[in-house]
Symmetry: C2
Subunit: 116 residues, 2 copies
């Protein structure tokens, strides 16, 4: 039963697009991730997708609009909605998804989920 | 499908211990709350309880230890564990709980849940 310091967690890794689980809330993973450049277009048919920007600027591209997020801003992508996160510079994010959700929407291409 | 700016949400209310739902993630409420002074001892038998400090310093008292949180730190109180949040000065928190969870652990004393 320890508290979690977000900056300490971000200091423990450098790779992009590889979410790290830092806590669990019921059947959900609380994760941190560093991202830069473009991810793949994907969707999650079974879950909404929570993004909170902690540092930097993130664009979440949807098929019909772009959502521009800065630090202190969040967005929930509804289930089934195609999206692609894009970051010109490094961005630090807090993510929340049901445990086991593949980050690409597809288990065959998903990053392995690590706990730190 | 709009982004949510946390500071803008905090600017919309001033009362303490009255969580405001700002987004939903599946069957969970994403909430902001301002707190100061002591809350009541309580527990949630059916859910863990997520606290992320965005501003200020919060102590989450447990029966056998105190968890001291600053901005950028989070703690998940496991289900069934008695706790009491305490803040000497105003604190801004992000909370996540299943929709309908009473903030006191008891529907008869819980603050009405508002969406902003």
């Amino acid at each position: 039963m320890d508290k979690i310091n977000l900056n300490e967690k971000f200091s423990q890794f450098s790779e992009y697009w590889s979410p790290k689980t830092i806590a669990q809330l019921n059947q959900y993973d609380i994760m941190v991730v560093k991202v830069k450049d473009e991810f793949v277009w994907h969707k999650h048919d079974d879950t909404d997708d929570f993004f909170l920007v902690l540092k930097g600027r993130l664009t979440i591209q949807l098929r019909d609009q772009d959502i521009h997020l800065e630090a202190g801003e969040l967005f929930v992508v509804p289930r089934g909605v195609e999206h692609r996160p894009v970051a010109e510079e490094e961005v630090h994010l807090l993510l929340i998804e049901p445990t086991g959700t593949p980050n690409t929407g597809d288990k065959s291409t998903a990053a392995p989920r690590q706990t730190i």
